[in-house]
């Protein structure tokens, strides 16, 4: 019984590790500037996790194997209530490793979250709703037209409440897909019309909630051109699973050409680009 249990625990351990090592079910290839740092921290952590996991399961199996009661009369366990020295030793080692990992990880967090977008960033206003994404572009004048919730009219396709009276909104465009330049810092100003949503492109390696009543800013930089799927990652209602869109990372000239287009032309051009670019293979 003991030996069987030990073997089963070890087999489970081996199979689990094998599943992780199989790169088929791993992150999609990252395209953001912070991806290498993220992936490195993840790898280090998962290594610590993996080693601890294997060590503990092997030790458990070994103890189960070795110390099973063989039924010999008079054969008793070792009488020990513990060892203070060992307690201190393993507490300190564990604390150092765990807290060390935590502190290491903060630099990745800080690089993404504690810095404002640098001047010259490409800014897009993102307005999420049940169940679609709305991306508001400032147009050639680089000024966002005034928006107001009282002006929102989904039926009239004014999803973000753009004020037609404001001169700055004449060159603005609003589409369902996100188009950003490659190799340039991007700032997203995230808002929501109704409930909490979450902006997520797997290749960017970050998620961010969009909270109604708040404007939350994130900034990042994508360094590979292409088309990427965009999903909502916070339960927002029954069609949460279908709240899908795309992020287009475009060469600078392509994006500049896009910026000067009017609303209809903008949407048409984005549709063309969505057909033109393919999703990544991995």
């Amino acid at each position: 019984m003991g030996r069987v249990l030990a073997v089963i625990i070890w087999i489970i351990t081996i199979l689990s590790v094998a599943l992780f090592l199989n790169r088929k079910w791993w992150f999609p290839e990252g395209i953001s500037e912070h991806t290498p740092a993220y992936d490195r921290q993840f790898l280090i952590t998962i290594l610590v996790v993996g080693i601890s996991f294997v060590a503990a399961q092997v030790a458990l199996g070994w103890a189960i194997w070795k110390f099973r009661d063989t039924g010999k009369p008079g054969d008793r366990a070792v009488y020990s209530h513990g060892s203070n020295r060992l307690e201190v030793l393993w507490t300190v080692i564990t604390a150092v490793i765990f807290i060390g990992l935590a502190v290491m990880g903060q630099s990745v967090w800080a690089s993404l979250r504690l810095h404002d977008a640098p001047p010259g960033s490409y800014t897009v206003e993102v307005v999420a709703q049940q169940f679609q994404w709305n991306f508001h572009y400032a147009g050639a004048d680089n000024k966002f037209g005034r928006t107001d919730p009282s002006l929102i009219d989904d039926g009239a396709l004014n999803f973000v409440g753009l004020d037609p009276e404001d001169p700055a909104s004449s060159d603005d465009a609003v589409t369902a897909a996100l188009a950003i330049p490659v190799n340039r810092p991007v700032e997203l100003r995230l808002r929501s019309k109704d409930v909490i949503h979450n902006f997520w492109v797997p290749q960017l390696r970050f998620k961010q909630d969009l909270v109604p009543g708040m404007e939350i800013k994130v900034n990042f930089q994508a360094n590979r051109v292409g088309k990427y799927e965009l999903a909502c990652a916070e339960l927002c209602g029954q069609l949460h699973f279908k709240m899908k869109s795309y992020m287009l990372v475009l060469p600078e000239e392509e994006l500049r050409a896009l910026q000067v287009l009017s609303q209809e032309q903008f949407q048409a051009r984005v549709a063309e680009l969505l057909n033109q670019y393919q999703l990544p293979a991995n």
């Binding site: 993220y38 366990a77 209530h81 807290i99 009543g213």
Partner: protein, 627 residues
């Protein structure tokens, strides 16, 4: 609750069926009632998870029974997205509250805490009875949510109570996840199906549950502080008692916060307040304040709900696991025939987990929009809480080292607990780092982590406790043969279900998706999804063995004596089952610590706590003496 004229707590044993088994103030009966409640609730929860797996692996399939019972939520027998999400919500709520927060504490704790400390009953027996009945009412209310949402005519009746009460969406309950984030949960019907009456009943059920839980916590703490028998010092208590005590303190301090939050949510839903609902919303084509279906709201904070919920929610998960840890320490020691390694360290670890548990709630909210600086603090605190958990694991391994293991079914499940707790807990190292959580938030990696610790390890703790204490509770053994089969199928099954969840999460599968067909990057997870579903079906089916074993053995099991496992603690001093006042009028006196196994020179390989003659080195169970 009567008092004898001699002063202490003697009331005559009840004689009528109702006073013996229904409205009983005997902590033993109440403990069994809680366990029965959990056994019923877990069936509901498992059926729901089975349906979830069926939907994910075989989407678009028509299930005839669904068409009969829920024609609107599953038209033609095919689950709608809202039906799936209602399953997710109710599965989580029922499992976390009515299974994991009842059986370990209210069930086994109620039964065995008084006995293990040498008392005749809990400090407040009537309050104890009340705590069970209040909890049961909470369960009935949440079942009502299923009916109100699932049944058109009943749902229509509820709609008469007010705008936020419209039900009958055809689903099995509200749709908000067990976490019920605002404003989705606060807006009412305009936010979609499953946001009406079912949600109101969900909040009310949880509020009622909070009250029941608080009454129980009050009893546990007072009993432990006031009613230990002669010689039962705090450091001679079994670790199960330490675990129940700390769990009760956690419950005492965290459930009121949930109650507060729940009241605010209910007011937002029914009284037009704006605690969690900000201004300027545009929902389902309506602007806030522009229509009677959507009254004016201003200024509320959705993140406030998250803070209140998770301030409760994090201690709650420790409430779910600590009793299992206590039981595991206890059972490992008993069947390893060896004292617990590092008893004192184990007590400190339980404290540390309990205390730190109050300071880490923000790790559920790293990407919520709260201050990134507080995320740093929460992240570091969260990884610190891994330290006492690791210490406990080392001590369990230390207990096994140099032992003589007897592989009873209870021991198998206790060993399984150690294995599963390591597997589940260790991924906390990933999720606790704010930087890594950036991508892992709301993915199946999170689901893997909490299912392994709560949904599996904690349940294994309960299984171990059942097989261990069944002979004491019912005077009969459970079948070891069936128990072993149950163990193997479940142990292998749960690993097969939940390990793949990790890689599915790394690949990017989000939580609470009723279908993954929309996304190209998720195409390759189908084989994993299928593997999980098959494993789930087998594992759920295997639990039938457990039910069969429990109910058959109650009546037909092999008879058990007072101390069939040759254990040391006070419950094994009395008959199986114990008499009404636990010790037949003579309270025991304690001379030793709880885990005196393999004492050198002792005639048997165990020394009971009450053994006045035995000579134990260093006397008095002052544990932690150096080697």
């Amino acid at each position: 609750m009567s008092e004898s004229h001699e002063g202490v707590h003697r009331h005559p044993a009840p004689t009528s069926f109702i006073r013996k088994y229904i409205f009983s103030v005997d902590h033993k009966v109440i403990g069994i009632q809680y366990i029965m409640l959990a056994l019923a609730a877990v069936v509901v929860g498992m059926v729901m998870s089975l349906l979830m797996r069926l939907n994910l692996s075989w989407p678009g399939t028509s299930w005839p029974i669904l068409e009969t019972l829920f024609p609107t939520g599953a038209p033609g027998g095919i689950m709608t997205p809202e039906f799936y999400l209602s399953l997710v919500t109710m599965h989580g709520t029922i499992m976390v509250f009515f299974v994991l927060t009842t059986a370990p504490q209210g069930g086994f704790g109620n039964y065995f805490l008084p006995i293990q400390i040498g008392a005749e009953d809990m400090a407040f027996p009537v309050l104890n009875m009340l705590s069970f009945w209040v909890t049961l009412v909470g369960f009935i209310v949440i079942l009502l949510a299923i009916v109100v949402e699932g049944n058109q005519s009943i749902g229509a009746w509820f709609a008469g109570l007010g705008p936020s009460f419209a039900g009958g969406s055809g689903t099995v309950g509200p749709i908000g996840g067990w976490t019920g984030y605002a404003p989705l949960s606060a807006l009412g019907k305009i936010a979609g199906p499953g946001q009406g009456a079912g949600m109101n009943l969900w909040v009310i059920s949880i509020a009622i549950f909070c009250v029941g839980s608080l009454l129980g916590a009050l009893n546990f703490i007072t009993t432990l502080l006031n009613m230990r028998t002669k010689g039962m010092s705090l450091m001679r208590m079994p670790l199960t008692c330490w675990a129940w005590f700390t769990t009760a303190v956690l419950a005492l301090l965290s459930f009121p916060v949930l109650l507060g939050g729940g009241i605010l949510l209910l007011l937002d839903r029914t009284a037009g307040t704006s605690f969690f609902i900000p201004g300027g919303l545009y929902v389902s084509g309506l602007l806030s304040g522009s229509h009677p279906n959507f009254p004016l709201h201003t200024g509320g904070s959705p993140i406030l709900w998250q803070h209140l919920f998770w301030f409760f929610g994090h201690p709650e998960v420790y409430i779910a696991i600590l009793p299992g840890m206590g039981a595991t320490s206890h059972i490992l020691s008993t069947f390893a025939r060896k004292p617990v390694f590092g008893y004192r360290a184990m007590v400190f670890a339980i404290f540390a987990i309990g205390l730190l548990g109050f300071f880490v709630w923000g790790h559920h909210m790293f990407i919520s929009g709260m201050s990134p600086y507080s995320s740093i603090a929460f992240s570091i605190l969260t990884l610190s809480i891994g330290v006492p958990s690791a210490v406990k694991t080392f001590n369990w391994l230390g207990t096994l080292w140099g032992s003589r293991i007897r592989f009873t079914t209870a021991m198998l499940f206790a060993l399984g607990f150690v294995s599963l707790f390591v597997s589940g807990g260790i991924t906390g190292l990933v999720l606790g780092q704010s930087s890594l959580d950036l991508a892992m938030h709301d993915s199946y990696f999170v689901t893997a982590h909490f299912h392994l610790v709560m949904g599996v390890a904690s349940i294994f703790g309960m299984f171990a406790a059942t097989y261990f204490w069944f002979p004491k509770m019912f005077g009969r053994f459970m079948s070891e043969r069936i128990g072993r089969i149950h163990f193997w199928l479940t142990f292998i099954g749960v690993y097969a279900i939940f390990v793949p969840f990790h890689t599915m999460g790394i690949r990017g599968m989000p939580r609470r998706f009723s279908s993954f067909a929309e996304y190209e990057f998720l195409r390759n997870v189908d084989p994993l999804v299928l593997l999980v579903s098959i494993a789930a079906i087998i594992t759920i089916a295997a639990q039938l063995l457990f039910y069969y074993n429990v109910f058959l053995s109650m009546f037909k099991g092999e008879k058990a004596g007072d101390n069939p496992w040759e254990a040391t603690t006070l419950e094994w001093n009395t008959s199986s089952p114990p008499p009404h006042d636990n010790f037949a009028g003579v309270l025991p006196t304690v001379y030793h610590g709880p885990y005196e196994f393999a004492v050198p020179g002792a005639p048997k390989d165990y020394v009971m706590q009450t053994d006045i003659e035995a000579e134990v080195p260093d006397g008095n169970g002052h544990n932690g003496h150096k080697h």
